[in-house]
Amino acid sequence: METIPYTVTPREDTGLINAKLGIWLFLASEVMLFGGLFSAYIFLRLGAVSWPEGSSILNVPIGTFNTLVLIGSSVTMVLSWAALAEKRFDRFRLYLGLTMLLSLLFLVVKGFEYSEKFSHHLYPASSSFMAIYFTLTGLHALHIIGGLVVNGYLWGPGSKMWASDPERFTNRVEIAGLYWHFVDLVWIFLFPVLYLL
């Protein structure tokens, strides 16, 4: 009675492995975190005397580019999982590597955007809009970095598990993928709210 059941095979009545249920719960909590910030955005905007149009301050083409980069990374993330399901470890490495490169590209572009704002003396303290912009995108960027760390682990040292317990490793990649899609999804909400509305 020492090992914890349902780490690899799903429990019959729930149809779930532990980690999948865990990640969904974690994501529910994340929804509430970003939900809190989004509702703060609505609250502040409704109470504001004037609110700038996002496109007058932020660079929409760059934002669009970054959106595409992130969606692309979600696609490669799925492909890396699918590669494992087909037992193609080399392809898995390729696609997960691409995912990480795309997320790095996203961060570089984001950093470029930030520094452009700073060079125009636009800081979080400049206005309510800039405050919520930097807070939301900053927190999102932290989530990207978190995803990079997890994916980096699975690409590098963590991939040893493929040899010892391939099924469990495939599950791990799937769960990292669920997180990654969530981070992507948050951006898909952030982009129109901040850049377009």
Partner: protein, 573 residues
């Protein structure tokens, strides 16, 4: 998991353990320390209220040359008393300690689903506690804007407030990891035959609590991030335009709203109220069922009530904000939901009361505490109703009445339930029983003192005494005629005597670890699964695979040989 087998080093076994039982004990010891610490803060504050501006005895030298409790220190102690009691004391004890130790045992699981996250949860909690304690030593002292940290006051407060926010981020991370773990454990690791309606009520209460922690804490984290931005990056999330501080217009962009914080804070803090009370109800249910020797009355109704309570707790938060001028429509909505949410609590309490009817009650120490819980919680609950109605709340808001109300819920309510839990489960954790005589002294002394503290506060509050002020301010003048100021001394003396009555408890607890009466695996003749494990349970908990055959509380079954039928026992024999 390979790493849980075999010989383990001291560090792995007792410090960085991934065994839910060790982690539970770690949580328990740390939380008891913080409960004592928070209580000491309050005992110092009570000196100032009983004997204003006189040097504080014993620890006065800590407070400066004259030994007088200064207003700014008083504010720090007040804010930290609330923070420590709620976030570092009661929740870690009821969820972190009891939940961690007994949820896996009661569902027949070998451990939590994610043992390493469980360890991380404890250490985040520990770090959060360290940050909170360290904040007493930064310039300006610990946070002093109340445990609610309302801006704009909190945004312009001293550095202790930044520490408070950082500490809270650690505590929220800890509770997130814990909540995910509890829910997956309860859903995934129930042993064969343990269907939902066979779960002990304690497990249900922990499940609902975990959902509240999972979903209510993140908005406070969002608010905490925004307040950190306000304090460190100069943003104005919570600062309105044209804010004047000490006669000077504050140089900020403005455009923010202090009310935004209140909404986000209470969106957490109202469910948090149920986080404080639900596990306590769970413990009381276990102790009652064991000591009345009959099934709990209305088990299903209790379960549905707990779940309904969980849902409703998300839509009552603004009843803390009737005085903000949010308008009658919103007030009307939140008054209605507040009245509705009182119904499930009443159902659970009524079920406890009716359970006693026709039982053959064993008046053990845990049972005394559980019985004490019922009227105390009832008193706290009923006195809460006027606060849920705006017309009465406008008068009572921010007075000692509010203090009395919610302390009846959490002090002689939840804390009594936690004591009941300690006495009840101590034999499972150690294999020994705590001393009954000392336990009874502890109970009766605490029971009298708790009422000595909180009962007079109702009168003080109705006379309008402000709950936050160092010297009562103008509210003392108003209260003069009502003749309630003398009770400040009574309250303070009751608080200090209450402290004395905790000494037999601490002595009993430490002494019984090695010197208590040795008992068998099921000393209370209880039915739930934790009593099927050896005392203390070994790594992996159970020596043989279990199957559950019946509901949780099969006591005094007609025709049975003994007066209890354990859940895992296949046939009557």
């Amino acid at each position: 998991m390979a790493e849980v087998h075999g010989e383990q080093s001291f560090w792995r076994k007792y410090i960085f353990s991934i065994d839910h039982k060790i982690i539970g004990i770690q949580y328990g010891i740390t939380a008891l320390f913080f409960l004592l610490f928070g209580f000491i803060l309050m005992m110092i504050m009570r000196w100032q209220l009983a004997y204003p501006e006189q040097p504080v005895p014993i620890i006065g030298w800590l407070l400066g040359e004259e030994g007088i409790l200064l207003p700014e220190v008083y504010n720090s102690l007040g804010a930290m008393h609330g923070t420590i009691m709620v976030f570092l004391g009661i929740v870690p004890l009821s969820v972190g300690a009891f939940g961690n130790y007994f949820v896996p045992l009661q569902i027949g699981a070998p451990d939590m689903t994610f043992p390493k996250l469980n360890m991380a949860s404890y250490w985040f909690y520990f770090l959060g506690g360290i940050v909170m304690l360290a904040s007493f030593f930064v310039p300006g002292g610990a946070a002093n804007s109340g445990w609610t940290s309302y801006p704009p006051l909190a945004v312009i407060a001293t550095m202790g407030q930044t520490m408070w926010l950082v500490g809270m981020v650690f505590l929220i991370t800890s509770s997130l990891l814990g909540a995910v773990n509890f829910i997956t454990t309860i859903i995934q690791l129930r042993v064969k035959g343990l269907t939902w309606m066979r779960l002990p009520f304690f497990v249900w209460s922990q499940l609902v609590t975990a959902f509240l922690l999972l979903l209510a804490f993140p908005p406070l984290e969002a608010a905490g991030v925004m307040q950190l931005m306000d304090r460190l990056a100069g943003t104005s999330f919570f600062l309105p335009s044209g804010l004047v501080v000490s006669g000077q217009v504050l140089e900020v962009t403005g455009g923010g709203s202090p009310l935004l914080w209140q909404h986000l804070f209470w969106f957490l803090a109202h469910p948090e109220v149920y986080v404080l009370i639900l596990p306590a109800m769970g413990i009381v249910a276990e102790v009652l069922a064991t000591n009345i020797r009959k099934p709990l009355w209305g088990y299903r109704a209790m379960v549905y009530s707990a779940v309904f309570l969980g849902f409703m707790s998300f839509i009552v938060w603004a009843h803390h904000m009737f005085l903000t001028g949010m308008g009658t429509t919103l007030s009307g909505f939140f008054q209605t939901t507040t009245m509705i949410i009182s119904i499930p609590s009443v159902i659970i309490l009524t079920a406890f009361l009716l359970s006693l009817w026709g039982g053959s009650i064993r008046f053990t120490t845990p049972m005394l505490f559980a019985l004490g819980f019922i009227p105390m919680f009832g008193l706290g609950g009923l006195t809460g109703l006027p606060l849920g109605l705006a017309p009465a709340d406008i008068h009572l808001h921010d007075t000692y009445y509010v203090i009395a109300h919610f302390h009846y819920m959490v002090a002689p309510g939840t804390i009594f339930a936690l004591f009941a839990g300690v006495y009840h489960w101590f034999p499972k954790i150690t294999g020994r029983r705590m001393n009954e005589t000392l336990g009874k002294i502890h109970f009766w002394g605490s029971f009298v003192c708790m009422n000595g503290i909180f009962m007079p506060m109702f009168a003080q509050g109705m006379a309008g005494i402000s709950r936050r002020l160092w010297d009562g301010g103008i509210s003392y003048q108003f209260a003069q005629d009502a003749g309630v100021l003398w009770s400040n001394e009574l309250i303070s003396i009751s608080a200090w005597v209450l402290f004395l009555f905790q000494i037999p408890f601490v002595y009993n607890l430490i002494r019984s670890i090695k010197g208590g009466e040795i008992v068998d695996d099921n000393p209370w003749e209880a039915t739930t699964l934790e009593w099927a494990a050896p005392s203390p349970p070994p790594h992996g908990n159970f020596t043989e695979p279990l199957t559950v055959y019946r509901p949780a509380y099969e006591y005094s079954v007609p025709g049975a040989v003994k007066d209890f039928l354990p859940q895992h026992q296949p046939e009557e024999g």
